[in-house]
């Protein structure tokens, strides 16, 4: 076997003379295909085709069908039109879940968006030990999320001898009920989620800061700009792209929050931390609602629709950078 590929694309530069002439127009017989190594190629492509086919493409297609069906695994699925969507949209819990998810996303932005940026800008000015700074910032990201939540759950102990209440006691505050109170439960969840994720954002910003064109600082200095004005007029404008990316990624990530409410509070107290993804989980796998696969899929498709708009914006904006 000397030639292995199908037609080498005409665009591939510098094809050596020994390779077959482009055969784009000629009608190819199965024998040509075999001789060109088409079978080997197909065999090598098989893991990708099978794994994606069975565990990605098929379930995605199935989601579209299932959202229009009544499925309970016992009787044959039955098409019910948009009934699942109507069921979900008229569920009184949906409004609560959407509001909670938006509240989580908003708090996550307030806690987790400006801080990593400020930390990264400051870290980029560090001359020595920069590696130590970034390693420390990233450390929480590598703690397994379940461990982090369980650990923080203990920290949030509502008794006066709880870890956070002890610390709050040092400055004469508390004790706070943290997770037990409907008002403070969500901010407590967001605090942990921010702790767990902020390091990743810091690293993204640090990488972007390396690319900031430093000549512009000198130009700004010639114009008499101080440190703050340099940050505002030179640094931040050049980070615009990456700031936008992290914003979108954070919104996409936080709108699918599950682990924190599931493990910290189970959606409580009084549904104060019930999120959209938890509602989906409850429809499909919850002990009381459970088994309503159609409704779960319908809701996940609606959530995906919202996220798809965000992703589309994201891809549109990032395309110029990924070349």
């Amino acid at each position: 076997m000397t030639t292995l590929t199908g037609p080498v694309r005409a665009t591939t530069a510098a094809t050596p003379p020994s390779s077959p002439p482009p055969r784009r127009r000629a009608r190819r017989t199965p024998r040509d295909w075999l001789r060109d190594g088409g079978l080997s190629t197909l065999v090598i492509a098989l893991p990708m085709i099978l794994v994606f086919g069975v565990f990605s493409w098929f379930p995605i297609g199935r989601a579209l069908v299932m959202s229009l069906q009544q499925t309970n695994l016992v009787t044959a699925p039955e098409f019910v039109g948009l009934e699942n969507f109507v069921f979900v949209l008229s569920d009184p819990l949906l409004g609560k879940a959407v509001a909670n998810t938006l509240w989580f996303a908003l708090l996550a932005l307030v806690f987790g968006y400006p801080l990593p940026l400020a930390a990264a800008v400051l870290m980029s000015e560090v001359k020595r030990l920069r590696g130590l700074y970034s390693a420390l910032a990233y450390l929480p990201v590598v703690v397994p999320p379940v461990v982090a939540v369980l650990l923080w759950k203990f920290f949030y102990d509502a008794s006066p001898s709880g870890v956070f209440n002890t610390i709050a006691g040092w400055v004469g505050l508390g004790p706070f009920p943290w997770l037990q109170d409907a008002g403070s439960a969500m901010p407590s969840l967001v605090l942990e989620a921010t702790w767990a994720a902020a390091g990743g954002t810091v690293i993204i910003y640090l990488a972007a800061l390396v690319g900031v064109r430093t000549e512009l600082y000198e130009a700004a200095e010639v114009d008499g700009a101080g440190v703050w004005r340099k940050i505002w007029h030179v640094t931040l404008p050049q980070l615009r792209g990456v700031l936008f990316i992290t914003l979108i990624l954070q919104v996409i990530g936080t709108s699918q929050v599950f682990l924190e409410p599931f493990l910290f509070t189970g959606g409580g107290p009084n549904n104060a931390t019930l999120t959209v993804l938890m509602l989906i989980y409850d429809y499909a796998f919850g002990s009381s609602l459970g088994g309503n696969y159609g409704a779960a899929t319908a809701l996940s498709l609606m959530l995906a629709g919202v996220l798809a708009v965000l992703s589309a914006i994201y891809f549109r904006v990032t395309r110029p950078w990924s070349s």
Partner: protein, 297 residues
């Protein structure tokens, strides 16, 4: 002298730095940041390490005390054996190694087909793979679960088998694209030379492309293992039998039945391997390579 450090300057110029007020402010800010990072980033982890070997009563009564009544190393052994953390640790390893293998298998063969072999149907597959990036994992949750219960074509249930975790993790569009892009950057002349020398497609992949791709294989490997270690919801759904569950799923389940000190020891044990991986491959995590996980595409 000023010219010496223009090559690697930041926002604050060397001229600014000569002013004592600027220097002091910057020093205080950076020192403050370092202290904050130690307290916030390292603090909880150090606390966990301490609590893992502290008797329950001490942790409850004086959570921030430093071993008021000595160290209790036995916690770790108790957690490892009596709380069966050893068993769940092995399960986690099995999940991680299998997920690593299938992610690497699919990403390398897929990337190779899409980047080097380029069959006619390649672009269609690439499009389909790319499209899955737009589909958030929440959409897959229920239909994928039902697929695991009854796999199309073969009609068997993978429930309670590790395959149910391994195979879906293999379907990572992000990995395929990452590897494809790396292969795109490899010199074509080497491939052509190998072909002229009579290397078949399998040989070309195994003896030429893969050895040239160690950096990207390292990236995919480390992140595959870490991702498998972190995963919670999916193994919770498809591995209902406690005997098969990894640490992430078992820890919340066993929490109510364990003494606090043993439970915290179990948490600490579960954290050791990811942190060790991080320390060993720090550069990988902290450089651009790690961004992949966050910035899809």
């Amino acid at each position: 002298m000023a010219a010496a450090d223009t090559a690697e300057r930041g926002i604050v110029s060397s001229h600014d730095l000569r002013r004592p007020s600027v220097r002091a402010t910057l020093g205080v800010l950076q020192g403050g940041l370092l202290v904050t990072l130690v307290v916030v980033g390292l603090g909880p982890i150090l606390w966990l390490a301490k609590a893992a070997v502290t008797p329950t009563q001490d942790t409850l009564r004086d959570p921030l005390g430093f071993f008021p009544n000595g160290i209790d190393w036995a916690n770790l052994a108790t957690a490892w054996t009596r709380a069966e953390i050893d068993h769940y640790f092995v399960n986690t390893l099995i999940v991680a190694v299998g997920a690593w293998f299938f992610q690497l298998l699919v990403a390398t063969t897929g990337g190779y087909v899409l980047s080097v072999l380029r069959p006619r149907y390649g672009n269609a597959i690439l499009g389909l793979v790319l499209a899955t990036l737009f589909v958030p994992s929440v959409v897959l949750l229920v239909p994928l679960y039902l697929t695991i219960l009854d796999v199309p074509l073969v009609h068997i249930s993978l429930l309670n088998t590790f395959w149910a975790v391994w195979l879906p993790m293999g379907a990572s569009a992000f990995n395929v694209l990452l590897v494809k892009r790396f292969f795109d950057g490899l010199p074509r002349e080497v491939f052509e030379a190998a072909r002229v020398d009579g290397a078949g497609p399998f040989r070309l992949l195994w003896s030429i492309v893969l050895p040239m791709s160690k950096p990207i294989l390292g990236v995919v490997s480390v992140f595959a293992v870490i991702a498998a270690w972190k995963d919670y919801l999916w193994p919770l759904l498809v591995l209902p039998d406690p005997g098969n569950q990894p640490l992430s799923v078992r820890l919340p389940a066993i929490a109510p039945y364990l003494e606090l000190d043993v439970f915290l020891a179990a948490l600490a044990i579960s954290t050791v391997l990811p942190i060790a991986l991080f320390l060993a491959f720090q550069r990988l995590f902290l450089s651009g390579a790690g961004l992949g996980g966050a910035v899809k595409g």
